[in-house]
Symmetry: C2
Subunit: 434 residues, 2 copies
């Protein structure tokens, strides 16, 4: 019966234990040989007589020995009187020393050797935080009555956002890879009211930056029967709180290993109108979007003013948002007054996390006549959107949603400079392997 | 404050309730008008004076009225003294009458109108069973110490299975869509030991059958430190039991609506060796695979002999399995004797569910020298697999895994004749929309 390394401290002293894992480190001293075994749960120390043959680092081994208390051993228990059986051939020398506390390699080395270098405990911790985030995301939405959906990645036309799509030879005719599940998640609000999907999205943007990937994991949410985008933002707040709480609960060790300063999600995320945000950062009132330095300044302001790592900016100009965006509607009964310059505003928001855009969301149009007008206003033919628009002809509630980029989320949490550091096998303009 | 239809039976009689949903059905009688509202939780009855204007079926509405006990109403409570507010324009006439108990349409009509026809409660139930299955799959594996992974869908070469891949224009050079996460999940066993992924896989197989899709959801599992494929099968058994139990727990209403006879997963799934299976169905001993009629006969045998909906067939000939398959190894100490004809057998299995292949799995090779030999035996160059093989050079434990096709699973559970009936927006040889 195999024991995990993490359970060794609770083993009965004198009992026989079987560990299985990798040779994390060997240290051959004059009078003793130390073997550190690594498995998915952690590390364990095995003490062997000097001169014992131990296979090289990364070889997989089975260790059978005696659990022995030793206050100097990690966790207070080590394995003695052990036999070591290699489970395969001796491992080749790894591209970096995985037993060192920090993995000190260049980004290209890290990415070229991903299958091996992800084994380093501090590197692996980054993905453990990602996996915990996914569990927190789903658990929160399941609790709120959402249904998980799976929407097609092959789409017939490149309608949503035009140029930056990947083309596929689909049984001899052209198809495209979905840039987002947007159209499908909206249609499925008509079925399930509240839906989410975690899946790959594909962006053929020729950007070579620290924030862009050709394929990333999008955490998509859409819900019906809302008043406006503030209801969407309220669900986003719950989701982020659930993700942070899952990271603490399920990946506490990983948080320690990455030294991540995990964010605290405030009970209410502060919201600023786009027009007020421009004024606050001293940008001209007719700017159509926020520049990265504006986002950073707003992030600093939110921390100073509200003690919050998060800030929602609402009311972005319609002309910078997709055609399905609902126009600004919070001028009526009881809503705050429309800030100056917001005449062209929308019921949409960006969520800044530590001064960087993490989430885009908002309310969508729901009336078929509004879709018809919005598509014609772009000089396009509604007939080209027939499959998408069918759902609206048959009754769609006021609805909205958002999408979180998993890699950006984790990169900000662990303060990685580049999203590629937190992606298992990144794909970009230049990289298609490993 | 909105109430869900399902909570109406517990509303305080005489209290004001607000429902939001779709007009599921209007019935205008001489002395009274009935309005049935549908939301994500179910149906509720609203009673209105004769002649009250009610918008057409599928229009989204907000209903504010009084909860009133009526033993004849569904659930014993209905809404009276109600005002009806349409939330958007009157809905167009749906492509089928969604209020009828059964959705009696042809398959092409169902698929062409998917965004609307998934609203039918009996149709929606099929996906509710799928979503519950996904939750059960993940919950079981989370509990067993597995880590969720996300592997790339863009791959550089079509090495794993050759011809049936989709080609993509990847920034001006060729790339392919992953047919499975096989290579990546194996490499990540080297990092996390136990991994799973739920994601799309892409098959350019020009098959026009009731079982094949160009894109489907694969539930992939891989684990290290196994003895042989029987350890993989034991995890598969836990996973299936968790999926069935989640379907009962989370989608009990859906099970009723689809009249699905949900399977019982036995404590131990019966296993038969491939050679014995051939003999049982009277097929020649040198057949390399099981034909569909053989699978059906074996399914009937498993039910009659073992009272089980599931049967694992192990020891398939190596020549019909992928190159990374581990050869048969259960001849040694304590293992059952090798059946006649199994000289070329493998440590792999298929799981039949009610006589149809649902899962393929098994043990993989783990020694670099075995990979080298297996790839050369196919007349290929190990250098073409360099990225994949790197992980093996640095210590990989004995490991194995399996993959479940979500659509096939649900189709079998609800006894759908065609996987397209249980896929939200299917993609096949002919269909790329909606």
């Amino acid at each position: 019966m195999r024991s995990l390394c993490s359970s060794l401290p609770t083993a009965e002293p004198g009992s026989t234990v079987t560990l299985e894992g990798w040779v994390h480190r060997r240290r051959e001293l004059a009078r003793v040989t130390f073997l550190v075994v690594r498995d998915r749960s952690g590390l364990a120390q095995v003490v062997l007589p000097a001169g014992t043959a131990v296979p090289p680092e990364e070889t997989t081994v089975r260790v059978v020995g005696t659990a022995t208390a030793n206050p100097q051993a990690p966790g207070g228990v080590e394995v003695t009187d052990a036999t070591i059986e290699a489970l395969t051939e001796p491992a080749a020398t790894p591209p970096a020393e995985l037993w060192r506390p920090a993995l000190d390699v260049s980004l290209p080395t890290l990415l070229d050797n991903a299958p091996v270098l992800w084994r380093h405990p501090a590197q692996r911790a980054k993905w453990e935080i990602a996996a915990a985030s996914l569990r927190g995301f789903r658990a929160t939405l399941d609790e709120l009555g959402f249904t998980e959906i799976a929407t097609p990645k092959f789409v017939e036309s490149a309608t949503e956002s035009g140029a930056n799509v990947f083309a596929v030879d689909y049984f001899g005719r052209p198809a495209y890879l979905a840039q987002s599940p947007q159209f499908y998640k909206q249609q499925l609000v008509g079925v399930f009211e509240r839906v989410y999907e975690v899946g790959p999205v594909f962006r053929a943007e020729p950007h070579d930056t620290v924030r862009h990937l050709a394929e990333y994991r999008s955490l998509d949410v859409e819900l019906g029967f809302i008043r406006d985008h503030r209801d969407v933002l309220a669900v986003l707040r719950e989701v982020l709180a659930g993700m942070v709480s899952a990271v603490h609960e399920l990946a506490g060790g990983a948080v320690q290993r990455t030294l991540a300063a995990v964010a605290v999600v405030p009970d209410e995320i502060p919201v600023i109108h786009f027009a007020d945000a421009l004024a606050l950062v001293g940008a001209p009132a007719d700017e159509p979007d926020l520049a990265p330095e504006h986002e950073r300044a707003l992030g600093a302001w939110a921390l100073a003013e509200h003690g919050s790592d998060f800030l929602a900016v609402e009311g972005y100009p319609m002309r910078k948002r997709p055609f399905y965006t609902h126009p600004w509607s919070r001028d009526g009964a009881g809503a705050p007054p429309r800030p100056p310059g917001s005449a062209e505003g929308s019921n949409s928001f960006d969520l800044l996390f530590r001064g960087l855009e993490l989430v885009t969301g908002g309310q969508r149009l729901h009336r078929p006549s509004d879709y018809d007008a919005a598509i014609r206003a772009r000089g396009e033919d509604p007939a080209d959107y027939a499959a998408y628009l069918q759902a609206f002809e048959h009754g769609m509630p006021p609805h909205g949603g958002f999408a979180i980029g998993l890699e950006r989320w984790v990169a900000r949490l662990v303060e990685a400079a580049n999203v590629r550091e937190v992606t298992l096998f990144p794909r970009d303009l230049h990289r298609l392997t490993p």
